[in-house]
Symmetry: C2
Subunit: 281 residues, 2 copies
């Protein structure tokens, strides 16, 4: 629901404030807010708040939102510098410090102080990791949609599915997030008629992963691309998904129904089921 | 550092356990562990732990890791079902419940109970959001590296940079994460000789964003692609970056040095500086 459709008084301002990108706080905040589905939240990210002046500006912004909406803003923060947190506590917002509930107990258990370094998580630690990621993205693009089958020996994973079942975004996510070399192969009419796994992938069975999708969803997605085509017909979609599923079962390949999963969830599922380890962290 | 290079006793097992993908816990855990750089952690994700049997298996796994390493495992969890958390507390791990420090205070401030629905954050809420993301990825691929300039009128953002400065992964991240239509245009030798913005992008100045990069880093990256070429020479890299930077400054375009940023940080910076709002959340 769009906040602009509501009276200001029904909208709860939510701030995500960090000295770096704020992605950790944004991820957690998003999950927590989803536990309160009856509320209308107006989420505002203030990343790179890394000087006393910027913290003071943030306080002004929070206070203005409090006055305008008549609601106490929820403020999620990941400051390493405690002075910044202290300043924010003087604002009209309810402050949720994302790190503090954990750091103390971790220091105790590990028997040492935390380093108080800002924003390590999403930073780039070195050229090797950067190169790994970029190479993985290039590989995913190079081996997208059944291209360059000869390079499948370099793949960490080869996704198999009927056209438009979500292969490309999943491969790109696996590359960007984990640095995996992820190829994908579209099961074609020829494969469906033969009803066997395509020869190009048979030598790589330990790296294969299948995707299926609800035929009605597939019909919707294909219809956006080629409306009223044979390709997009519900009947064709049902047939493609049925044969794909049967193939995966017959060859005992791990597979997953992408209908109710986001690319993040698909990526985690595949990584977990194939027992893959990322070298990025 | 690879945990296998160490005695078991110096490695601290870390578990990330969730009833869904565990990405929220993984992101937070990764940030928290980075605050303790002197430790060697062995991170094990156990996603989709969504039945009492799987929780019992997780306890067995945690206890085995505790016995083997001689160290108390750190266990980060995002269970919505409190019974699961209670069972985990009987393990030999130190449990960090990622939600509980916040949910109580949020319930109080919002005056209502949380919904106790598992894993909302990374789930797919509807076909529109799914389609938006997929279309954005397709657009990024279609308008990658100066392709299909005519479709720039559909762009939310057009990234400009010299070859190999990190444009493609950043565009794919903007598409996957936020559903933005992100095109990218490589500044070429012709542009550098003319020393003006290319005509194709001049009509879209409010959507332009530049990337620069440390010439030494660019030299390393280009050398992997075409070793000992003129293109990869440090001199050429210095020249390309200098002219690109001068162009961005002259046209007053927002730009950013990608050298010390990850794609996530670049994505957040660009979104923030251009004041873009994602329709995905």
């Amino acid at each position: 629901m769009n906040p602009s459709e509501h009276d200001a008084s029904t909208v709860r301002p939510v701030f995500i404030i960090s000295d770096r990108s704020g992605l950790t706080a944004e991820t957690l905040c998003h999950t927590l807010l989803s536990q309160f589905p009856d509320n209308v939240f107006n989420q505002i990210a203030l990343p790179f708040v890394d000087s006393p002046e910027k913290v003071a500006d943030a306080v002004t912004t929070i206070n203005a939102a409090a006055d305008e909406s008549g609601n106490k803003p929820l403020v999620f923060t990941t400051f390493v510098d405690e002075n910044y947190s202290t300043t924010l506590r003087e604002s009209k917002g309810e402050i949720f410090d994302v790190f503090s509930p954990f750091i103390g107990a971790m220091e105790k258990e590990l028997g040492q102080q935390s380093s108080h370094q800002a924003g390590q998580s999403h930073g780039m630690s070195n050229l090797t990791q950067y190169t790994q990621r970029i190479n993985a993205v290039n590989y995913a693009l190079y081996c997208d949609d059944g291209l360059h089958l000869r390079d499948y020996d370099k793949a960490d994973i080869i996704l198999l599915a009927a056209s438009r079942s979500g292969k490309t975004p999943t491969c790109l996510y696996l590359a960007l997030q984990f640095g995996f070399y992820a190829a994908n192969y579209p099961l074609t009419e020829e494969d469906f008629e033969k009803d066997t796994l395509p020869e190009a992938v048979l030598n790589h069975r330990d790296r294969l992963f299948g995707l299926i999708i609800d035929p009605k969803r597939l019909h919707q997605i294909r219809s956006e691309r080629r409306p009223d085509s044979q390709y997009a017909s519900l009947r064709q979609c049902q047939r493609d998904v049925t044969i794909a599923r049967a193939l995966f079962e017959r060859y005992k390949l791990p597979f997953c129904d992408s209908t109710n999963y986001s690319v993040e969830e698909l990526g985690s599922t595949i990584k977990h089921q194939l027992g893959m380890q990322s070298s990025l962290y």
